[in-house]
């Protein structure tokens, strides 16, 4: 059942939110020992929230557009009084003194929080294998990874724990796991959704967004979380138009461009490339025009990203110093305590990125690495702007391949980073993009096609995604 249908039933008192919550908690109980999508099952919180929704309905009040809909929350979103770990030992046991704006908004809309979901530690990774609490498995094939870093949220939706989930996307961390798990995942325009209470990784790139089984459900959730938040200084102050009323408007006359540098290149598997071609054909059949377009500097996106994101992360993660929250390992003075705490509390990938970022920002290297990456970022923004003069949305693969086996890339960081080669340019530009399941590859595993749009281009992006969903 979709979130739209569930909320309609609960609002009309055809179903009780408590029953809906119990059913979904039963799915979690049946499958999560194997899948490990959850860091924490919020059983009591879920039942309390569901009861409140039922009481509101009984009083004749409207509990909101997500009435009684279970939702899974990535464990880097702060939930007051409820452990929030970022899948890191350094925050194990920490209970935040405040709640993220996006969580407040979904709860105010009647959603029922079902779990905090697993992620690569501090959202750094593409397989959820970098979690300090063990990997999540892909519900479509438990020998495979669910993607990452929001692998727990993607798996939770794919396994039926909840029709909706929230994740965060810094270089593809919503879209790539959505593709690998066969669900819809959206990276909204930078600034469209508040990040207050999202634990920071790379602040010029991070964005919160929805996972759902259907395009319309993803639009429903985005409508609830989008909009200005005075507590986030990077939040766009303009009013935003709702997407649910427009998702079904079709693509007649829409100009669609296939990005050659992200599609027709080595490393993209043949079956994924074929899926993109078929998706383009589906849009054409529905009235869109399709052509190929070159966005040349996107080929440098990965290199630029792996300087910018670690640089920002090395600064953001300086706060984990054993003083104010989380782990402390004693030392003879403050500096020794800081260093011992951070070595014990951070996992290998987080240390790798902190080291990389610290180096890229250090005296003598700043301009050659970080400065140069920022100039490449300008080129990417310019090249996209040129492409969007002629196209309304762009198409590419989301992930170069279908879900890979657990352990396949853990020994080779660069191979793992290449999983995000198609998704990273959108974050560097601050644009919107989403992944829609479209066809299947090797072993029947899902393939995701990425629809890209310029900043605040969510409307045409969702319309195209909806046509792909119907035509897949």
């Amino acid at each position: 059942m979709t979130a739209v249908e569930l909320a309609a039933d609960v609002r009309a008192a055809r179903r009780r939110a408590v029953d809906v919550a119990q059913e979904h908690l039963a799915v979690v109980a049946a499958r999560d020992d194997e899948l490990h999508a959850c860091n924490l099952v919020m059983r009591e919180e879920a039942l309390d929230a569901a009861r409140a929704v039922d009481e509101a309905v009984a009083r004749g009040d409207d509990p909101g557009p997500l009435a009684g809909v279970p939702i899974a929350l990535k464990d880097n979103l702060c939930t007051r009084g409820v452990p929030t770990t970022c899948s890191s030992r350094i925050l194990e046991g920490w209970r935040p003194p405040y709640t993220a704006t996006v969580v407040e908004r979904v709860l105010a809309a009647g959603a029922v929080p079902i779990a905090k979901t697993n992620l690569d530690e501090f959202a750094m990774g593409s397989s959820t294998e970098n979690s300090a609490f063990g990997p999540t498995r892909n519900p479509r094939d438990p020998s495979r990874v669910p993607g990452g870093s929001s692998g727990g949220s993607a798996a939770a939706v794919a396994a039926g724990y909840a029709p909706l989930a929230l994740g965060s996307d810094t270089g593809g961390s919503i879209r790539q796991p959505a593709a690998l798990c066969g669900v819809v995942g959206v990276k909204p325009t930078y600034g469209l959704v508040s990040r207050y209470g999202l634990i920071a990784f790379a602040s010029s790139l991070d964005q919160v967004g929805p996972f759902a089984d259907t395009v319309t459900d993803a639009a429903l959730l985005l409508d609830v979380i989008a909009g200005h938040d005075p507590r986030d200084s990077t939040s766009i102050p303009d009013a935003v138009a709702p997407l649910v009323p427009v998702v079904d408007r079709g693509v007649e006359g829409l100009r669609v461009g296939i990005v050659t540098e992200l599609t027709d290149v080595d490393g993209i598997s043949a079956e994924v490339r074929t899926a993109v071609e078929r998706a383009a054909h589906t849009l054409e059949q529905a009235g869109a025009s399709v052509d190929r377009v070159s966005v040349p500097s996107t080929q440098y996106g990965l290199s630029a990203y792996y300087l910018i994101a670690p640089a920002e992360a090395s600064s953001n993660l300086a706060r984990y110093d054993g003083v104010r929250y989380g782990l402390r390992v004693d030392g003879e003075d403050v500096a020794a305590m800081n260093a011992a705490t951070r070595d014990a509390g951070f996992g290998a990938e987080v240390k790798r990125r902190i080291m990389l970022g610290t180096y890229a920002l250090s005296a003598g290297y700043y301009d050659a690495y970080y400065g140069q990456a920022q100039r490449v970022r300008t080129l990417i923004v310019r090249d996209f702007a040129r492409a969007y003069e002629h196209f309304d949305v762009l198409l590419s693969p989301t992930s170069p391949t279908v879900a890979f086996e657990l352990g396949a890339k853990t020994a080779d960081p660069l191979a793992m980073y290449l999983s995000d080669v198609c998704t990273i340019p959108t974050n560097l530009a601050g644009h919107a993009a989403m992944s829609v399941p479209f066809g299947a590859g090797e072993g029947g595993l899902p393939i995701g096609v990425q629809v890209l749009a310029p900043a605040l281009g969510e409307e045409p992006m969702f319309r195209a995604a909806r046509v792909l969903e119907v035509g897949r």
């Binding site: 209970r95 290199s303 300086a318 104010r324 004693d330 260093a339």
Partner: protein
């Protein structure tokens, strides 16, 4: 361009306040060299005339009215600290004893 050495790793680890073990230093020396080789793709581009982009939004100087409002509850915050005393965070010695 893999001239990334053990000494570089140890220096950067000190800047980053990471007390790395010897085996971690070895591993990072190898891995960071490979990653930086890939990053060299951008270092090699001749784009000195292109201005840098630090941030995708054009918002500048976002201010709010300077009016006091409620903040986090001090006791709730300190309850989550590794060590606290008299309403403050407690840390080990910072300066040498007199």
């Amino acid at each position: 361009m893999s001239e990334f050495t053990r000494a570089d790793v140890e220096h950067v680890a000190q800047l980053a306040r990471l007390a790395l073990r010897d085996d971690e230093v070895d591993e990072l020396t190898a891995q960071l060299g490979v990653i930086l080789d890939h990053a060299a793709q951008v270092s090699a581009l001749d784009i000195s005339d292109v201005p840098p982009t630090a941030h995708p939004l054009r918002l500048v100087n976002v201010l709010r009215p300077d009016v006091p409002g409620p903040s986090l509850d001090r006791d709730e915050v300190l309850a989550m600290a590794p060590d606290a005393e008299d309403g403050r965070f407690r840390v080990p010695r910072i300066l040498d004893a007199p």
